[in-house]
């Protein structure tokens, strides 16, 4: 490498897309999840092209990018949700705590308990608030008796910031709650099976600003206990809730770095154009 190239090298905190040089890999500490050279195809069409990224425990990671850029597709690779689409094909390596999640011996149901997901539209089961939370722990056999199950339900609702609002009506239907409460119920449901990673796919896009603020506060409180990845169309939201931001464009990871760097001084012109509203 000559001196000129050295001058071009990004500072430590700036990451680009080649994991060897970029910090798509983490500095220090073992990443919770890693992806290496991931390609996703829907039939003949390639939706994700050679994405490598690390997700850490200590930071919330935001995926941003225009519609169709592949950010949700990539998120759905991280707990094998794309398995449910027959024509989808995923290549490359994705690991959780070093285990290949696409290995034949990987139990997908178990994987999705470890890597929970919250969707754009709140989707509580048409069951009681209590049963919405208790469902996962029951099927995974996490509680030995009613008392323990009660405890899991309460602590999950506590952590999701919903306990105070629903503790007197746990037998009411989950679908009777407001949109924001339903979304926090879904987060509580994901938490109930004690996951390691929580994936959120535009969790606030159907919510009003106050319900959105509550979810954002919740994300902030959950940080550190779970590795959190959030896909959002709202760049202000990405700026508010995340410590790391990844910008996707046309199926590639354009830039990945500290959220403050991405939003104040992005290194790639495409990132700059997108976050400043120059994207055509």
């Amino acid at each position: 490498m000559n001196d000129d190239q050295k001058m071009q090298e990004p500072s430590e905190s700036v990451y680009m897309t080649d994991p060897a040089t970029t910090g798509a890999t983490s500095e220090g500490g073992t990443p919770k999840m890693t992806a290496r050279n991931v390609d996703v195809f829907y039939g003949d069409k390639q939706a994700i092209n050679d994405v490598s990224i690390d997700v850490n425990m200590d930071s919330v990671t935001a995926f941003i990018g225009p519609s169709g850029c592949g950010k949700s597709t990539f998120l759905r690779c991280m707990n094998r949700m794309n398995d449910t689409i027959p024509i989808a094909r995923v290549t490359g390596d994705i690991t959780l705590e070093g285990d290949d999640i696409y290995a034949p011996q990987m139990d997908v149901v178990q994987l999705r308990a470890r890597v929970g997901m919250v969707f754009q539209k709140p989707n509580p089961f048409p069951k009681s608030i209590y049963d919405n939370i208790a469902y996962g722990p029951r099927i995974h056999g996490l509680a030995t008796g009613k008392e323990e199950l009660d405890h899991i339900v309460e602590s999950s609702l506590q952590r999701a910031g919903l306990w105070g609002e629903v503790k007197d009506r746990l037998q009411d239907s989950g679908t009777a709650l407001s949109g924001g409460q339903q979304q926090r119920l879904c987060i509580a449901r994901a938490i109930a099976v004690d996951p390691e990673v929580i994936l959120m796919d535009e969790p606030c896009s159907a919510l009003d600003p106050i319900a959105t603020a509550k979810i954002e506060e919740l994300i902030h409180e959950l940080r550190g206990r779970y590795a959190i990845v959030i896909v959002t169309h709202n760049m202000q939201q990405a700026a508010r809730v995340s410590q790391k931001t990844a910008f996707f464009h046309l199926g590639t990871l354009v830039e990945y770095g500290e959220t403050t760097d991405i939003f104040t001084n992005p290194r790639k012109e495409k990132t700059r154009d997108y976050i400043t509203g120059r994207y055509g």
């Binding site: 939003f263 104040t264 001084n265 790639k268 154009d273 976050i275 509203g277």
Partner: protein
């Protein structure tokens, strides 16, 4: 990364930014003019022109306020990011700095009536050249902002040294004059203040240049090595520390 000037999807945002850039150009032009007028008033002992500089400073102050208001408004309504955010923050700071430059010009103008007798002092002959360079620095710093020209910004930063050198020469010459002509000490002190004002104008032009560099690149401008200021007793201590 330097702003490529591509338009925003929301055109009203471009219109706000362009309006601000126009206002920065205007406040810069007015300040530059204020320096030139103040110095002409000084050279010709033109009290009327000096009074005009003092009056017109109000326009610069008003313009600063309008720039600040529109910057606030744009930040609040457009939630700018990246180079847009840096440019708006720079605009906000530049307007304050340029307003100060206007104040220095006004301060020079206010001394015109007091120093009408100083023409026989030798050091005054250096002031026109010094003020010419200080004005050029202001103009070039604002041109650098208008063109997002980091090279020109760095050159402004380098050329400020010339203004500093002028100041140091004038300082020594004025002190010598004071020693030899104790009865002139009062007026000589005013002369020294005028030179100091010009020196500060150069420094502020450099501040503008640094903000231009930051707005364009997102990085602080590499520091230049400063010349020593004989009037600053801390200078030696600090430069020793740097070694």
């Amino acid at each position: 990364m330097v702003n490529s000037g591509t338009e925003h999807t929301v055109k009203a945002f471009d219109s706000d930014i362009n309006q601000l850039r126009g206002m920065v150009a205007e406040i810069g032009g007015r300040s530059e003019q204020a320096i030139a007028k103040a110095m002409r008033a000084l050279e010709n002992s033109d009290l009327e022109l000096a009074a005009e500089v003092v009056r017109e400073d109000k326009l610069i102050d008003d313009l600063e306020k309008r720039i600040d208001d529109l910057t606030f408004q744009t930040i609040a309504l457009r939630a700018p990011m990246a180079d847009d955010l840096r440019e708006l923050i720079a605009t906000f700071k530049i307007s304050g700095v340029v307003e100060r430059i206007g104040d220095y010009a006004k301060n020079i103008a206010k001394r015109v009536p007091i120093v009408t007798q100083t023409r026989r002092m030798a050091p005054i002959s250096l002031l026109p050249s010094m003020s010419k360079i200080a004005s050029e620095l202001v103009r070039d710093a604002l041109d650098a902002f208008a063109r997002r020209d980091t090279e020109l910004a760095m050159e402004v930063n380098r050329r400020d040294q010339i203004v500093d050198d002028f100041y140091n020469s004038i300082f020594r010459a004025v002190i010598t004059h004071m020693v030899e002509n104790p009865k002139d000490i009062g007026e000589a002190a005013h002369l020294l203040f005028i030179a100091k004002n010009l020196e500060r104008i150069g420094d502020h032009a450099t501040n503008v240049a640094e903000m231009v560099y930051f707005a364009a690149t997102g990085e602080p401008m590499p520091e230049r090595t400063r010349g020593e200021d004989p009037t600053d007793p801390l200078d030696d201590v600090l430069s020793d520390d740097a070694d």
